[in-house]
Symmetry: C2
Subunit: 407 residues, 2 copies
Amino acid sequence: MKITEGGVTAAKGFEAAGAEAGIKYQNRKDMALIYSQAPCVLAGTFTSNVVKAAPVLWDRNVVENAPFGQAVIVNAGIANACTGKEGYEYCERTAAKAAAVLGIPKESVLVASTGVIGMQLPIDRIEAGIEKLAGEKQDTSKAGTLAAEAIMTTDTHSKQAAAEVVIDGVKVTVGGMCKGSGMIHPNMCTMLAFVTTDAAISKELLTKAVKEDVTDTFNMVSVDGDTSTNDTLLVMANGMAGNSEINEVGPAYEAFREALHYVNESLAKMMAGDGEGATALIEAKVVGAATKDDARKLGKSVICSSLTKAAIYGHDANWGRILCALGYSGVSFEPEKLELYFESKAGKILIYKDGVGADYSEEEAGRILSEPEVTILVDMKAGEESATAWGCDLTYDYVKINADYRS
Amino acid sequence: MKITEGGVTAAKGFEAAGAEAGIKYQNRKDMALIYSQAPCVLAGTFTSNVVKAAPVLWDRNVVENAPFGQAVIVNAGIANACTGKEGYEYCERTAAKAAAVLGIPKESVLVASTGVIGMQLPIDRIEAGIEKLAGEKQDTSKAGTLAAEAIMTTDTHSKQAAAEVVIDGVKVTVGGMCKGSGMIHPNMCTMLAFVTTDAAISKELLTKAVKEDVTDTFNMVSVDGDTSTNDTLLVMANGMAGNSEINEVGPAYEAFREALHYVNESLAKMMAGDGEGATALIEAKVVGAATKDDARKLGKSVICSSLTKAAIYGHDANWGRILCALGYSGVSFEPEKLELYFESKAGKILIYKDGVGADYSEEEAGRILSEPEVTILVDMKAGEESATAWGCDLTYDYVKINADYRS
């Protein structure tokens, strides 16, 4: 596998655009288009929240029932959630407009929204935005970046990743973009993420690959424990790489999975590190767990703990809070057996063993915790399974951003 | 039922004291004693965290196996959690010292600790503190207040409540004290709480009453979602009121339950309102739910949502976050059916109905949310069950307190 530059336009035949449509923000791009020159096999995973935004309902229907997909229209600023029948009609009008402008079936257009809940979309501006986007779309890396910038809300930077693998002697590319960065607690996936690939792959195998991979990538991220109403991961495969269609598990499937995993994991980590107000990416790596499910629960419990997050912000090796978070994760274990380490570019240090704190230097621990990426390594000494979860520290700025997000 | 002044010394025959023992803090009381002139029937509930502090293990054993209890020794500053064999030995030494000084059996002494995890107790200071406490204990209201002050950590004020009922023509009193205010997410109960009563009641009925009542009181509170390693609620009944022993469900039991409920609910609400950094008590009242369990889950999900908590801090009627929190609670419901209101001393306002935001005044909503006690009222329109949960807003000060709690 080769890691490459770019995002949703990295794979062959994908075009993108980002435009200022004046949805809510002033003087910034707030609408994006992803367009494929050829019809795409689709897979998607959506929020598990009972309160689902209108675009989630629209897209789920397209992914499940439409013969193919070819374009995605995204807007930032307004989430189109809790908007009733009117909100759903705006999804349909968005798709209809894009279909007319792009010359594709309405049922092949996906829509996604992110922003404030409860407001209706200004549909006239959306429609004008679509015309702009269609006029500007390109298959360049620059166009992919414009799209990635246009979908941001409180994100501080755009998020893209891409990788190549060789299948049947031809180059297959997977690229993607996503946005965070509040209401990030994927129980499925919490965010908007779009992944494109030129791989030829059957719907069944694409669905399987996506389903398997989100469990260990997007679903292992939490910024604030709030599972959004709009969470969407869409994957589009247009087959333009020219490999023979992947329709069974084997080396070709595994190669595709590797590239997909790289892109998903990269995007997931970027989201965690750019959580609202965050100064550090926290990685909770659990090894030696009795079961895979235990490892995932333990890791997520640590990165979700407000007290742990605040301690990392303070560069304070307050490991009791981590033990505490492991203890209420719902997993049964013997606290005396596990070992806890802090690790970052500045070093690695044993913090807890045999049921008590290890004899470590607070100064050294503080230095390790002062890095922008910090790993909390937990060895449960209970088995062979492992999992990694990603989160971020809890800061003044998280409160500031969310105390007046609407105003 | 009559609401009265005082706390753990309100009921007949209970004495208390608070003293400076220099455990961790300077120039403040940090040890407390509760003592009963007569042996007590005991009931208790303890943290569900797999990582249990040494005092939790000690007390659970006393509550389950000792014939009676007669004293509690509490310290603030160090939690005696994750302290291994040495930590448990300090519980035993604490109990032994108190037993010797007070002239009661070691097995009748309960211990409780709150503070930093992972440090060993300075047992010499604990022992000196016990002598001080024993010398100063009194049955006055003032002594109860000194004890309530001594168990505080980041609490901004002490927490006490008391009530009287008449059973068999005699006055029966229930009084209590507790401390919060971080790591407050009771799954059982998250905090230290001590309730004393002069009721004569069998162990079986006292246990039943406590178990029933915590579900709707302490277990409905969350400050930060972190279930502590030390959570303890101890209830001591010394029978000195002189009523005939309550040993079956009936009017006497119900009268006792009413007073117990008042004390527990009052303490639980005080804890929520004094959550770390809080400026407001948030009450999430769910009515019209299909089941009691649904109502509880929905209420707790709302008060645990960081985004909702931050919005309340900003006096921002960002109701989408509340819908979102209801949606990921794990309860299945139709979002179009429910109604949402904000309520406080400043008024009551309909915010959401029929799947969309109601036509309310943002200014009025902001005024309602600016009060120190705010109710989020959710009518699920799905049945007859209800529950109330209590939490607090998420503020800069929460982060500040927890980013450097140890230092």
